[in-house]
């Protein structure tokens, strides 16, 4: 019976190591709900066949143009200048909270270099504040 107890202890050790590997390894980067604009650009080749994907980023202030059936805007990875951007074209009514500077997740596919989306989810962050303290980096 001692042999089996030893096996149990060894099993615990191995599973602890595996769990650690999973959490601190790079699996987290694969298990994502959406890609960031820089990842989306880097993985363009994977999605050339019209496969749908989700891209999440911030709506670049001043880039929103209304079109007859939706919007055109630029999706940026971050607020600092020089971060990767994706040109997006969204068909359909925007979500209620949509504004420039806010985080959105778009679902759709590539057409050339433009990301054609038909589903838009607004991603709000964990920061809450009263309207008067309009801080920089809103979103």
């Amino acid at each position: 019976m001692r042999r089996y107890r030893l096996l149990l202890v060894a099993g615990f050790g191995v599973s602890a190591v595996l769990v650690g590997l999973l959490f601190f390894g790079n699996l987290n980067r694969n298990l994502v709900y959406y890609l960031t604009p820089d990842e989306a650009v880097a993985q363009r080749a994977d999605f050339d066949d019209g496969r749908r994907l989700q891209i999440g980023g911030l709506v670049e202030p001043g880039s929103v143009v209304r079109t007859p059936d939706g919007l055109r805007f630029t999706l940026a990875a971050g607020t600092e200048p020089g971060s990767a951007t994706v040109a997006a074209q969204h068909t359909g009514a925007p979500a209620q909270l949509f504004r420039s500077g806010i985080g959105v997740v778009l679902e759709g596919s590539w057409r050339g270099d433009v990301f054609i989306s038909d589903t838009m989810l607004v991603k709000h962050d964990e920061n809450y504040g009263a309207p008067d303290q309009q801080a920089g980096g809103a979103g």
Binding site: V32, Y34, Q96, K123, N127, Y128, A130, P131, A138
Partner: protein, 279 residues
């Protein structure tokens, strides 16, 4: 009901009223506007689901250790109340998600893991309902109650491990909570109020289980109530007003809480009545 028995519901009632006032008086969010008020009911519901399942875990281990029937009753009651709060958190999250994200539901890791947690504990309740012998039921459900808890940390940490649509925790994070202080006060006030309501519900459920056990009649299988899951109807046009969403969320939250409590009380009154009859 004794004086000590009435004190807790009274305190909980006052706390809920104060929490509601705080939630309505807190400032609107700079982005979400009035919709942020849904946070004051959604977050406490989710937090109490975690608390309930943690109590189930501790009581299950306690039963395996000491074999006291009381521990089994606490585990069962807490799991049922936890399933109720999980359902409430999902329903309220759905109501909050539609106007903010733009969808009722999406395949986000936090949402999916929460739904799985709901079903795992629904399985726990089904297992209890299927077993007649009290000792066998306690044993099976204690083992499953321990195994099922694996799900809970995964749900809580899902927003940190994976990039999700759902926002990461605001209060339970290292450093200063990233929230306006009056909003934080309203949130904490509601957490306390909901926890008191949870204590009332849990106590009522434990008492109901004890009364049923005491009755010991064959027809008294401790049938668990499935929580009031509000299924949003498809194709229903979303009201534009932010306040309409807040009112909807609050009526679901308080309606479900009140309904659940009323149901538990009614069941206990009936069990008592039947016990009186059989005597």
């Amino acid at each position: 009901m004794t004086l000590s028995g009435a004190r807790l519901p009274a305190v909980a009632g006052v706390a809920v009223a104060a929490g509601l006032a705080g939630a309505l008086l807190a400032p609107p969010d700079r982005l979400q506007g009035e919709l942020v008020r849904l946070m004051y009911v959604h977050v406490p519901a989710a937090w109490l689901a975690f608390l309930a399942f943690a109590i189930t875990l501790v009581a299950s281990i306690g039963w395996l250790w000491r074999r006291r029937p009381g521990a089994d009753r606490v585990a069962a009651a807490s799991a049922e109340v936890g399933v109720f709060f999980t359902g409430l958190a999902i329903a309220l999250g759905s109501i909050w998600g539609k106007p903010t994200w733009g969808v009722w539901w999406t395949w986000d890791p936090r949402l999916v893991t929460t739904a799985l947690m709901f079903f795992v504990y629904l399985g726990y309740l089904a297992l209890r309902r299927a077993t007649v012998d009290p000792v066998s039921r306690a044993r099976r459900s204690a083992v499953f109650g321990v195994v099922a808890f694996v799900q809970v940390p995964i749900v809580h940490l899902s927003v940190l491990w994976w990039r999700t649509l759902h926002q990461p925790p605001t209060v339970l994070q290292p450093g200063d909570p990233s929230i306006d202080h009056s909003m934080l006060a309203a949130l904490l006030g509601n957490l306390v109020a909901f926890t008191l309501v949870f204590a009332v519900l849990l106590r009522e459920r434990v008492r109901l289980a004890a009364a049923e056990d005491a009755l010991e009649t064959a027809e008294e299988s401790a049938a668990a109530i499935s929580p009031a899951m509000r299924c949003p109807r498809r194709g229903w046009r979303a009201p534009v007003s932010e306040w309409a969403w807040v009112v909807l969320g609050y009526s679901v939250a308080y309606g479900a809480l009140g309904g659940y409590l009323a149901l538990l009380v009614r069941r206990r009154v009936r069990v008592r009545w039947r016990a009186g009859q059989s005597r």
